[in-house]
């Protein structure tokens, strides 16, 4: 089976995970910029982080014949500090020239605060100015519904942003319709406790849509599973789905979205 992992924080994973992903059939990994688990003390920390995901991680992935792509931003958990956010956002254009950068992400909201919303809007402006794809993080747990609605409204305020070039990630049963009805792509995240299980994700494919949607593991420094996507594929087989349909969901869908960036160069044959 071939597949694309559209959302994995490989900076927080050991090289063993690249080996597992390669053995499972992963052909490309996409790594959004995220919260490291602690608040960085300055924009210089972000500069080095951007260097890591645009230079070192692609090299680490390449040893296992996996293509590595990334997204850039200051994540919403660190967006309460407006000066820090501005300093980090000012760094982004320099890194947009790197050959594995697909766009701006994972921007979004965390606790749905005014400063988080302002920083989200600044990121959307950068994406619009530089014609970049956008990947959006929706808040955790009880904050997700409110945050998703605020995010959709914020994106709609930018008439130059094509919804087809935006993916709103971590949808669940109470937010997926909001995202799809607004014309955006929806990402379902297979993450223990706080997000979806494979069974629920496949239910959502059946009930809502299998177009403009993808699944991902969002594996990071927390308890998470880099093989969540192949396990979801196995759950699809248990339900009787064939190889061609599974390929559509775990390979063709994410490839179709990312091919909107000229930097995405995976062989789709």
């Amino acid at each position: 089976m071939r597949y694309i992992e559209p959302h994995a924080h490989m900076v927080s994973r050991t090289t063993d995970d690249y080996q597992k992903l390669a053995l499972a059939g992963c052909q490309a990994i996409c790594e959004p910029a995220f919260w490291a688990g602690f608040d960085r003390s300055s924009s210089e920390g972000f500069y080095d982080y951007f260097r890591q995901i645009t230079t070192y991680e692609p090299a680490r992935a390449a040893k296992f014949c996996i293509q590595h792509y990334c997204w850039l931003c200051i994540n919403p958990k660190e967006a309460e500090d407006l000066q820090l956010a501005k300093d980090v956002i000012d760094l982004i254009p320099e890194f947009l020239e790197k050959e594995n950068v697909l766009g701006i992400g994972e921007i979004g909201l965390n606790k749905n605060s005014r400063n988080e919303l302002a920083v989200l809007e600044q990121h959307i402006q950068v994406a619009a100015d530089h014609d970049q794809l956008i990947l959006v993080h929706t808040p955790h747990l009880e904050d997700k519904l409110k945050g998703t609605k605020l995010i959709v409204d914020a994106l709609r305020n930018f008439s130059s942003v094509d919804p087809g070039r935006v993916i709103i990630d971590h949808v669940e049963e109470h937010t997926i319709q909001h995202v799809l009805d607004a014309g955006f792509w929806a990402g379902m995240t297979l993450y223990p406790e706080s997000k979806c299980t494979p069974a629920r994700a496949i239910d959502m494919l059946e009930v809502y849509s299998d177009e403009n949607i993808w699944m991902n593991s969002a594996c990071d420094w927390g308890v998470s599973d880099p093989l969540a996507l192949p396990k979801a594929a196995q759950e699809m087989r248990r339900r009787g789905y064939g190889a061609e349909y599974i390929d559509k969901v775990v390979f063709q869908n994410p490839a179709r979205f990312m091919s909107q960036s000229p930097r995405f160069k995976l062989d789709l044959g």
């Binding site: 309460e80 605060s113 747990l141 009880e142 605020l150 669940e172 109470h174 009787g240 789905y241």
Partner: protein
């Protein structure tokens, strides 16, 4: 209700998932027993969980969505400032009251 794809596989979902669901229900039951033994039932999260269980008894196939809505913050305005970074899984009624 439309479903995708147009021809869904004809799987026996009870065979596939009953045992897993049974185990998860037992975990919930044991959790409620545990918090009662330790006199922690007054926690707002326990109350929210107990109230959510009633949704499972309904007859419409949108229980997962309604459970998530039950646990959700239904306010619409951004909060003035974030003082925490984490989420709890249910809405703390004291925090919502303070933000009003």
């Amino acid at each position: 209700m439309m479903t995708y794809p147009s021809a869904l596989p004809d799987a026996n979902h009870v065979e596939l998932s009953f045992m897993d669901s049974r185990a998860k229900l037992l975990d919930v039951a044991a959790f409620l027993d545990r918090v009662q033994r330790f006199d922690q039932e007054s926690d707002y999260r326990v109350k929210a969980l107990k109230d959510a269980i009633a949704i499972l008894q309904s007859e419409t196939p949108d229980r997962a969505k309604r459970v998530l809505l039950h646990f959700s913050d239904m306010t619409e305005e951004p909060i003035p400032e974030a003082h925490t970074q984490g989420a709890a899984g249910a809405v703390d009624p004291t925090l919502v009251a303070n933000q009003s």
